[in-house]
Amino acid sequence: MWAYWLSVPEHWREIPARYRLEGGQCEDCGFKMIPKRDVCPRCGSKNVKTVKLPRRGRVLEYTKVWNPPRGYEYYTPYVIALVELEDGTRLTAQLTDVDPDEVEEGMEVEMVLRKVRVSGESGLIAYAYKFRPLLK
């Protein structure tokens, strides 16, 4: 069960990305990423700065998950999506506040902070980004 239990520091150090969508941008080729990396995955440059990513985007691809890992049973079936943010940055996220059957390619979504996983009765409750259909 080692991979299931979430430790406090492990989640804590990811908080800038998971709470606030802080990512990285390559100062040489402009590529944006989440999380920030030391090396740009596109051009190999080591000049990567921290940037705040936009909260809005659209669904590129999605799936309704029926067979969850331990710790995610409560939300099942839930939707996992590849989301492309307004500036072109891509990430993987769970969708929320939506009927899974109404999700479609191209759907406009926005980031919200939600409970993502609970590690048993005494473990850490982790919050992070999820995406919901854009409120118009």
Binding site: M1, W2, A3, Y4, L6, E10, E14, A17, M33, I34, P35, P41, L60, E61, Y62, T63, K64, V65, W66, N67, P68, P69, R70, G71, Y72, E73, Y75, Y78, I80, L82, R90, L91, T92, A93, Q94, E105, V116, R117, A126, A128, K130
Partner: protein
Amino acid sequence: MRDVYVVGAGLTPVGNHWRLGIRDLAVQASIKAMEAADNPKIDYIVVANALSGIVDGQENLGALISDYLGMIGTPSLKVEAAGASGAAAAVTAAGLIKSGMADNVLLVGVEKMTDYTALEDSNMALSTSIEREYEAFFGATLESLHAMVMRSYMRKYNVEEEAFAAVPVLMHEHASTNPYAQFKFKLKRESYMRSPYLAEPLKLLDAPSIGDGAAAVILSVSPNSPGGAVRVSSWGQATDHVSLYMRKSVTEFPAVRLAVKRALERADLKLSDISFYKIHDSSSVAALIEIEEMGLTERGKAIELVDSEDSRRNGSTPINPDGGLKARGHPLGATGVYQIAETYLQLTDKAEGTQVSGARRALLLSAGGLASNVVVHVLERV
């Protein structure tokens, strides 16, 4: 560099081995392989495994398995590369021989998966091969990534869900006569459409099941063996982004393309030199993309090959003559060694029930994670 030969193989059937632990499975396969090679002096043991630290709470497998084999003192280590652990361990083992560090290596792949009796726990374990912090943390599983690849493939090439049945149907047909297979029965297309979704549109029958198993081979610098020898004539390996969201294309596996190219070029071979293929059908759509990346068909056309007689054992392009991951079974870290052991039996005319007649050369593809670490071997008759 020195040549490397496979000179003996031993397998356990893939399945639910409730009475056997990781030690027992590894020892059984290893003893069979060493006996088949007339018990050469083993200079090194290389263990392939992906999940023992998680499922069994056991690491240090190199020492553990040499201990239980009664081979204390023999150098031994474990190699991990998710679902490609077996093939990556073979690269390591062959390297020991090529470099002169060892003359005979016992390569044993083992995985014990059924000790997790709840699917949620198995899913968690299998999803350690995707990126934990930015995929699995959000509830993504390895299956869910395959599912998104599948939906993308369907949209891009205008393919219906029903069409993917061709992959498990082929694998089950080939496994139905394999004595070591987990699922020795044929599959009807209707059963495929009735099978439940794991992550839509990926169905239960698109993916391998959970299974235990071990396979072992003896690699040697010398082709002298009572059971015959098969040459490891080439290899190629390549990596890709672990996360699907970091990739430029959702429907391509560039690491497969690169690993196959490297393996063929290194031995100056063409696809037309290959008698049969072992692909890593960790899902139906993954199998199709691999076939396309290898260059066996155009993009979007692999289903036609899988559906045809050409992909059968007696066809022009046999694919997974032993049943593949779907039906032979996929004991994760052991699968790459199963491929090598089965191919050894094929190329020495000892593949009981699954023989591809007259096969001279085989290409073996193993893909860890979502094809983020891909290893290819070419084996040939001596």
